[in-house]
Amino acid sequence: MTNKTFGIIGFIIFSSIFCEDFTYKELPVLQSGRIKPLDTYSKNSLLQFYGKKSIKLDDGNSLSSIDWLFESFINPNEEFEREIFNIRNPEVAFSLGLGKNDDHRYNFTQIIDGFRDNKDLLEVLKKKEENNQTLVDKQIIEIYNNILSFDQISHGVYCLLPLINLSNEVNREFMGLDSSESLSYSYFMRNIDRFRFLLQNLLDTDENDWNESHLEISKIAFQLESMTQFHYAQSIKIIPGGDNEWFSPWEMMDGRELTQFQYEILELYEKLFYYYVNDDILSVNKYADLIITKIDNNYNLETSLLSLETFYNKINIFLFSMIFYIVGFFSMCIGWMIFNKYLHIFSFLSMILGFFIHGIGIIFRMIIMQRPPVSTLYESIVFVGFILVMFALIFEYFRKDSLGILIASVGGIFLHFVGFKYAADGDTLGVLMAVLNSNFWLATHVTTITTGYGVSLVAGLMGHIYLVVNLIKPKNKVLLNKIFNNAYGLTLMGLFFTMFGTILGGIWADQSWGRFWGWDPKENGALLIVLWHLMMLHLRVSGIVGKVGYAYGISLVNIIVALAWFGVNLLNVGLHSYGFTDNVAMNLFLFILVELLFTSSLLYLIKRKR
């Protein structure tokens, strides 16, 4: 059965990566320092505004981000009425004069009116220093920036849209047109030399002598003039200009000398939008393919990466790995209840399958970004989950009593949820600062330390299991000893990985900026985990704590890991801070509280039973 599934997955992957034609989703665009498919661009923008990757429509259907983006391109004014701006904080909505709204979503026009009516508000906020801004202040500024960037996006390709009719025979013939297609602003700019002649002719003719062709030209001149107002919308960088620089269509319209290549790309884009407006998706894709191939020929684009990224966006791979983990968890639970051996095997296979999909997801990201598995906080969450499941499954392979599956599924599912939460914050495929841009050290230090996090979490969960089993079956000494030995071994392994990860980090620091250790929060965080493991080992060796105490202590390592991993970002000092949301503090606090309550009450119950 598994072979078949693999076959199908493999087929899907290969067919979509190596199919020859590109679609409009894969059109390359430069954003945040990286060439990415428009599909990713649209997803990031929609996440930023709406909080989700697709829009739920009133009729129950959903609008994908790429379709939303194209709709915004061709019908900006209609899209201004769509409620896509998520304002969760009622205080923010109120201060902008927006009414109550159950789904917290507002449209562009409402918000822009809100800002217009409260002009002073923004002025005051802009003058405030960042340290003095309250949460509401920050959110208002964020909404304002979102509004601005949506305005930029929606008019970003306005100059490529077929909005201008040139129907007069004389004019058409002069411009060398043989069909009656509508034309774009960009068309006139590309053919400015011919059009200039028509304009000159218009100026030279007395207004009373204007014929139909003159009238049309004057109308078009007026129309072009009024479209120029959107010249500011330069955020859609889809036209390569050499030297790593990419330009937006509007930048091409400022009268600069166009290269032959840029001229042709603009022409192709005009065609593409012409067909999009006319609902001919086949032709749209044909032109998209032409554009991508052309850019690839001239600028050596990594086109397979664009396709891979679009594919990665589409399949939402980590959803599948989580589903398999959930299936594994429940089949294990049922298998426990009814003592069914086959269910146990089934749950193990399900976990293995989830684990492979998880791994494929990580490999996809590595290929797309051309860097080692962990370089951002989001990636560390995905990777720690992977390591945790891996170690737990290795244990399961040797023990065969479902405890490994329990740890793998609980940890895997939990970390998947945390990961999804982070992914909802925006782009998870970002570029890196100069200091971090070293594949060697990312591959060694970061991978080791995150592996350490993963193993430590497994050790912590093993401690939990020891406490629970001790409470339920205190008589089963054999089982308890086994679990204890595993927890102890895992502590050693966790110590191994966190210690070497930390030292490697120090060596990286020594190599890159001249000091081995600087008591920076992130370093201290990693050190805390190391010290915690050392403490537990020596508390046990010196006989200060017994087995139950040890299990309790090692359970708490989860809290230390969480603090070192997420807590230090809340301090926002030093070289390692990634930037974070205020939610993190709350969630972290809840996690610590729940962990403390759970383990401490277990400990209390065990002690009382004795």
Binding site: I507, R515, F516, L531, L534
Partner: protein, 368 residues
Amino acid sequence: MYSFKKYITIVGSPKIFAYTVIWMIVLVFIGTIVQKDIGLYSAQMQYFSSWFKWVWFLPFPSGKLTMLIMFINLSCYFFRPGILFKNKLGISITHFGVILMLLGGGLTSFFSNDGSIVIDEGEKSNFYENYYNKEFAIVDTSNPDFDRFVIFDDPLLRINNVLSEETIPFDIEILDYFINCKPIARIYEGGNEFKGMAKNFILQEILSEKEYEKNISGIIYKIINSESSDGIYINYIGQPITQTLTDSNKDYMLFLRRQRTYLPFELELVNFEKVMHPGTNIAKSYSSLVNLIEDSVPRKILISMNEPLRHRGYTFYQASFIEEGFKQTTVLATVKNQGRLFPYISTIIMCIGILYHMLFMIFRRKSL
């Protein structure tokens, strides 16, 4: 002999280690949290690089003392019997690695010297400046062939301290010294006792910056026992106008500046380059092309992120840059660290130790 063994057993007890580690956890935890408020440098000074952390009038052992205790405790481990037996060898090797690591840390904290060298494009420099320590320099410029420097180091810059040196015809009494201050223009000109910049400016002490290296230190001093220059003067870091004075027919310049360490060679910045991620303000990489000039022979070297220059025990890292108009300036972090190799060696030793121990455990289990 017996008592020595007993002594070792007590001092080297793993219980002590466990409790010390717990205390270290507390220190690291607090020392990290407070960084949000007092900044990294102060936290490091109070919690890690000092012997004691004073809370009100109670001294608590700080990082240095705690690690010294760990060091002593661990050292005693090696006086125990049987540490070279097969079953303990791995653990012993690992402990040895940890001891080396702590030793290296100690060496670094006592002997390392660091700072930064700042060079404009096309310029040369042969010294680096300490981030934190300041010095007071008096330069005798009256001889046309050379300048004579007299330097007073940071620890001497204390209130009421009188600085004097036999070749200088006057003494300097320090009236006030500020870690961080700002010059404020006087509304009315100061009296006759105020000289130089002090006539028109006063220094106002302000709270230390969270990033300690950003502090602008200032000094108010009185020149006494001179022929004609007695009076009150001020100096601060980055003062725009150099304080000069003439006494006993000699010209002097007085500076308060970051402590300088002179190198036995010179660096000249030929070109500074930075590459951005396209379309963003995020730097992808920086690099400085420098000429290393030793005995008047230049040699071209490229210093870039993650690829420092190492020469005669000094290491220069691309740390930062300054851009003003078209002028580019590179900032190279400079370190001279005697304990540099310790982490590398101790890591390898620890690695061998732990691997041995793991293999030993695995084979023991198989043989059972």
